[in-house]
Symmetry: C2
Subunit: 201 residues, 2 copies
Amino acid sequence: MIKVLVAEDMHLIRGALVALLSLEQDMSVVAELDRGDEIVPTAIVRRPDVAVVDIDLPGMDGLTAAAALHGAVPECRTLVLTGLSQPGLLLRALQAHVRGFIVKDAPAEALAEGVRRVHAGERVIDPDLIAAALETGTSPLTPREADVLREAENGLPTDQIATRLSLSGATVRNYLSNAISKVGAHNRIDAARIARNAGWL
Amino acid sequence: MIKVLVAEDMHLIRGALVALLSLEQDMSVVAELDRGDEIVPTAIVRRPDVAVVDIDLPGMDGLTAAAALHGAVPECRTLVLTGLSQPGLLLRALQAHVRGFIVKDAPAEALAEGVRRVHAGERVIDPDLIAAALETGTSPLTPREADVLREAENGLPTDQIATRLSLSGATVRNYLSNAISKVGAHNRIDAARIARNAGWL
DNA sequence: GGTGGCCGATGACAGTTGTCATCGGCCACT
DNA sequence: AGTGGCCGATGACAACTGTCATCGGCCACC
């Protein structure tokens, strides 16, 4: 019997995923969570074989939690669930010792199948996503450029971004200018959109 | 036995929702769809009692489909499913003769319960969402202002928005300026974000 | 028939944003 | 010791953005 932990913030979706997994004879859900920062403490107590983790969780994002989980409970394999297919996230996921990466519009059977294969030690990654990740490549942005883009995404003007990051306004504009040209955008918000879609933020 | 139609674009989530509904003794899923424009044709053939429809579907958005469904198969009641709770969408949903409105982070039992109540002729709407909708009120934006904001959201510069909407660049700036002051934003992207969150786009 | 709202446009102006050249400090690598 | 990259900063300049006043046409409402 494969013991599964499920972490997904939207209650209804989580319940539905649990229902889906519960249909399988060879697995049982031993924990249900809605926050990333509860994954490790819960896993230590419940000792799941596989953790099914949404990438976008409150408290602590799914990838950070996956890395921490690998450290705290190494025998527990992580299967990441993501809504949007952002290639850059795949790279970060692999660095976080994630063993499987399933997109939410994969066929329903893919989940249980993925859990089984990850439990068996295989890696489970959508081939299309691998191709996209290789194509997109690694982020061209420096950490600071990414920081600035993240703030710009919310519509903050230059000087407020500068204040929040303790930078000079002119420096912020330089970073934005660099980021804009690196990703091939026309302005800051375009750049933020491109970087976000690529999974670089 | 309540016959249910499920329309949700993410395959895995759809399968999970179907699994969840299939656990109920008094209902059966008679149709599964991933596109909005197939809802009406399918409903005409399968005659579901309740349609569970995601708001964000390819082909035709869930609300438009719900309105069409009400016209084509009036005895079928619609229950809308939405990820983000955007108050403005609730108003549009009610105009589309939607009978229920469930947020994806509602408890898992809420779905089957909602299906039952909608089938019984009740309206099912989260009280918090009603309050938020009343608070947010109806959109202050004129149709054209909303058009311009939608384009601005993607990072297009003024002149490209003008081209796409067949307007003068100066007019676009005026509309944006109006929209920005109406929603109390500091710039176009801030305005787009606010309007999007309110469900006005 | 007047009033008011939305549409579309123009011109002027200030403020913000994007680009470029250039600087110094720091750190890693050869 | 030199090279190159990232960080943070400045100044100047052009381009874009946001605001305001103002116009005419159209349509709905009283």
